[in-house]
Symmetry: D3
Subunit: 133 residues, 6 copies
Amino acid sequence: MYSLTVCDHIMIAHSFHGEEFGPAQRLHGATYAVEAEFRAAKLDHMQLLVDIALAKTELRRVLETVDYSNLDEQPALAGVNTTTEYMAFHIHGLLSAACRDGRLGAGGRAVASLKLLLRESPSAWASYEGPIA
Amino acid sequence: MYSLTVCDHIMIAHSFHGEEFGPAQRLHGATYAVEAEFRAAKLDHMQLLVDIALAKTELRRVLETVDYSNLDEQPALAGVNTTTEYMAFHIHGLLSAACRDGRLGAGGRAVASLKLLLRESPSAWASYEGPIA
Amino acid sequence: MYSLTVCDHIMIAHSFHGEEFGPAQRLHGATYAVEAEFRAAKLDHMQLLVDIALAKTELRRVLETVDYSNLDEQPALAGVNTTTEYMAFHIHGLLSAACRDGRLGAGGRAVASLKLLLRESPSAWASYEGPIA
Amino acid sequence: MYSLTVCDHIMIAHSFHGEEFGPAQRLHGATYAVEAEFRAAKLDHMQLLVDIALAKTELRRVLETVDYSNLDEQPALAGVNTTTEYMAFHIHGLLSAACRDGRLGAGGRAVASLKLLLRESPSAWASYEGPIA
Amino acid sequence: MYSLTVCDHIMIAHSFHGEEFGPAQRLHGATYAVEAEFRAAKLDHMQLLVDIALAKTELRRVLETVDYSNLDEQPALAGVNTTTEYMAFHIHGLLSAACRDGRLGAGGRAVASLKLLLRESPSAWASYEGPIA
Amino acid sequence: MYSLTVCDHIMIAHSFHGEEFGPAQRLHGATYAVEAEFRAAKLDHMQLLVDIALAKTELRRVLETVDYSNLDEQPALAGVNTTTEYMAFHIHGLLSAACRDGRLGAGGRAVASLKLLLRESPSAWASYEGPIA
């Protein structure tokens, strides 16, 4: 199994609902360092899994929908606790759609699974992995 | 599949038995940077896999049993070569028990598998992964 | 010259005023990975610059004043653009006061200069360095 | 499942064939930070997966075949686009052979799977994982 | 003293002249992870040292002159051993000029000193620091 | 001013004397990731500050005197609290001597100052910097 990973980051504000969250119930924020890992059983005839430049472009396009925003006011995230693990799932959905729609070329359509990992601090991170279908 | 990882570190002394270990047969030591990765197929209704604060607290509690100690004198490790891979297994056992016993809440009980990764230096690390049952 | 550095992090929300800031004029947020570097020409008789545990405790105490908050609503930061370089200066002031007041022991009072470095993302960081007096 | 990872790096020149590669069609180069991860279900009676010193020695021996070279002129890589994902596969083949041939001892022969991860920059990396057989 | 650092990277081929260089006399290559640190005694009224977005844009513009190239064929580097320390100096010259010419705004002109640090591998890096004048 | 930095690491055991050290009074250990930074105002005619391969060899030779040992039993460190800041000073002395003695070539003798930085964990490190004379 092959993998190719590209990185970017976003800077967002949000707050959590529920006593379990303690001080994180207050409006605060995070830098999420984002790693998108594409996995496939084969490379194409150019020896590429997906084109790195294209992967970075599409990851950026997807991240633009939430970058420099207050997640509490995003309609697509209304009423949801935007935990790091949830945001990994949310971005996975957007980037999976980009693969399926051909925005990452033939390589993107051949991706077997996609993993989104978000680092919220030097000592905590979360991920979601699943097929692109 | 979701994952959530929290980090901590311990500073221990130990020595190894067996010619294969060369200079590491002498009493020496290590900083182990510890990464505990919890995996689960679902998040709870709060969008949490496990509570990060609770995960850090319980990881610390488990690490206290070996932190700032000479592993050669730990009864629980008597007669064992405390290699990095073995210590990953050892700490996995302790943190798995914490999950099973409910000390990480309902989320901890729903963990499908747990991976402990210990970095012994910038150029070598080891891990053990398995179910918490 | 000796140095000792301890690390922590904060997660804050804020917004900037001025067209130069582009999308960062919107409410967003950041994880600041914080590195506090103490510098001194000599160590004490215990071979310590400052006690690491005490340094981490006092850095945390200082960071609690802004952690998990919206900087736009902090009275101490009213009307100021809380750029990474400014926040390094702000935290430098608070930790310098802790040194002067003896909260880091005799070692803290002997610190010649203090540098606060804040990493806002994997590709950008800022610092402020100056004497503690 | 246990894992043990050792690291090294190589510095190579190469060029790519195909319009998709844009400026990377020109002769350029890369530092590949190489991580070799050995996986096995059991440790030996010494609590070792593979000997770290031996693993580093054999990884270095394998990397010597390409280190400080122009991959475009390597007979073993003739006519192939030496993408990061392909080079992970290529080095996987060489290190797998070292395991099978006993150059990593009995532990090496017991390795269930081997993953080679090559970091080409702070924001992109690729890997190949498969059995050593 | 304040500092602001922004990062980027380049991927180049080159070779060295002189027996001291051993295998590095052969054509090989490197990824240079580049950190540009701007230093100034004061921030502007916006609390900025230099605009991060502008700093990243100008650093990229400067790096484009050597990225994805064979340094042995660059007229500006003819007959020079392009060691990491020399390349730090070379890029320092280009980015200093950008500051002086106003391409980084008023903040860029107020920079007291500029440090260029180039990481060639996980275990070696070099820098050049000097005034922009 | 130019700098060149090379890295290595050591794994040692030790204990501290004094109530201030709390649990670190017990025999424990550390991995010290060691960074040796050489500084000089000029490069030689080969564009080298010091030869990287030679610098790594001599740093390793110096570190061999303490690697895989119990610092409490080192005659050269008898009765001294081997704090991270003190060990940075100690190794600085050994590597400075190597520079003065010509073991790093003419470049080593031209070094203006040398900084030794030792990382004891992901969240704490210390350094000593001074001239080699």
